[in-house]
Amino acid sequence: MESSAHSPVLGQVQTSRLLSGGLGWRRRSVNVVMTALIAGAFLLAMIPLFSLVFEVAKRGIPGLSLEFFTSDARGVVGGGGAAHAIVGTLVITGVAAVISVPIGIMAAIYLNEYGTGRLRRALTFFVDVMTGIPSIVAGLFAYALFELFLGPGIRLGVMGSLALSVLMIPIVIRSAEEVLKIVPNHLREAAYALGTPKWKTITKVVLPTAFAGLVTGVMIAIARIVGETAPLLVTTGVVDSMNTNPFQGRMQNLAVYAYNEYRSPGVMKQASYDKAWAAALTLIAIVMILNIAARFVYRRYKTEIR
């Protein structure tokens, strides 16, 4: 990198111009204007964030009630709560995490500790591909798979979980790979020197060292998928009553609930909109709590690596 002393980015012309004389009025004002533009652009980009959080809180709070959290919407006109959607969100996301976390972390272990040659290269490449799958396509995949075996029009909670897994696995792998990478090699070497087999080195030395980072990664991955709507719209369907069994029947969830209350409001339009916003507020709260808790876990429990 010695050549950067004569870097093309800071070429002769610019250098001589910079050296000639003091800071002219023009250069100074360009600097001020551009700095202001940059700061202004940042503020402009932040307006939607604040507007969105403010509006969701303002419009969501009227719809929050004890009923919203405790009852479903079976056979009620205009009233009813979202308990079935909250439970559905937990079940669908939970099953997705149960599928994705072991596969994702084992695959990251493969990439970082074992992988060599063609399989490693293929996995790295296809995890990149997987990161780019649009969420609706993941939903269509789950539908196409289950339709083949269970017939057309099928809707199950577990189909949604499968679709979400397609989205979640690459996120888990990427973050797990990052934290495994920063576990220093001298820890592994010390374990080997003591005669520890490789699998015990990984399970007793590498994973515990990386534990806080792994947990943080999983929490952020869950936060990313918990609000997914599109893949669930085509796989888990819409339903008014409580269903806790992911292997039988349709299952509601918060995101689809919010969409449905907005799209097909009943006779009491405003009540439906209120519930859509209340569901949105609940979702934002879940996402924010997961994100903040993830950072807390990392700061509090990360292993100091010297």
Partner: protein, 317 residues
Amino acid sequence: MASVDTTTNAGQLLAAASGGRRRLGDRVFSRTAVVAAVTILALLAGVAIFLLSEGFPALTASASELPEGKTFIDYVAPLAFGTVLASAIAAVVAVPLAVAAALFITHVAPPRLALTLGYLVDMLAAIPSIIYGLWGIFVLGPAAVPVLKWLEEKLGFIPFFKGPASATGRTMLVAGLVLAVMILPIVSAVAREAFAQTPRRLQEGAKALGATRWETIRMTVLPFGKSSVMSGAMLGLGRALGETMAVTIILSVSGAVSFNLIGQANPSTIAANIALNFPESSGLAINALIATGLALFAITLVTNMGARAIIARSNQE
């Protein structure tokens, strides 16, 4: 990566020392890791295979059997047009803002604020798309109506703003703007990482020669981060192409192919079309929707591959 190889070698040496046969625990654990890797490849192959097998009937069906009585190509073309148009608006708006936000965080704001400001931008990525949709139709759309009217009156000679302006704000322009907000954090994160890695030597050199802050940014930071910004922009574009719910909720669709961004009649996008029609469809209509999903997958794949190729090329240099 060299250090990883030495530990692998150490493990092999160890195995050799213990009589050349690997312990049972080692065999089971490494097999499990390989199985996980292969499962993921199989899952991805499954995505392609099942979409192909369920989409195929629509590709070969005659026009009269398909929704709207069109051949598949005629059915998907306006949707692909809408998808690309909405994403293009998003990218055009988001990229300059994202680059500026990244510059602000890395080079303008006080360094001790950088981490917090970064979190704020990342928060935009954490918000579920259904909420962007609700915000777009209840807040941004109504707020945009007077602006759309103004665009029609003052800039109506440009085809994009021909009008008549929508009275609800459910237009391509508003949908594109919401998509821009959604992809901004992705583009910004990639740019931020690159800008933060600009060699100090270059920046200090520029400053020592008397460059102002903007001149330092223009002569060292921006050239250094150029390829990262491009790949970040393409990653953002890929995200915008597949984004579903925000567009589904905001856009008032008619199937028209039009460059008019502020009107009531807009082309739909592939993803929004699936979300709108899938729940009530059956038979071949389902196959047709799955086939459009396959087309969407292909478009995003090409875009993302382009982004990776740019990254790979700039890493080589």
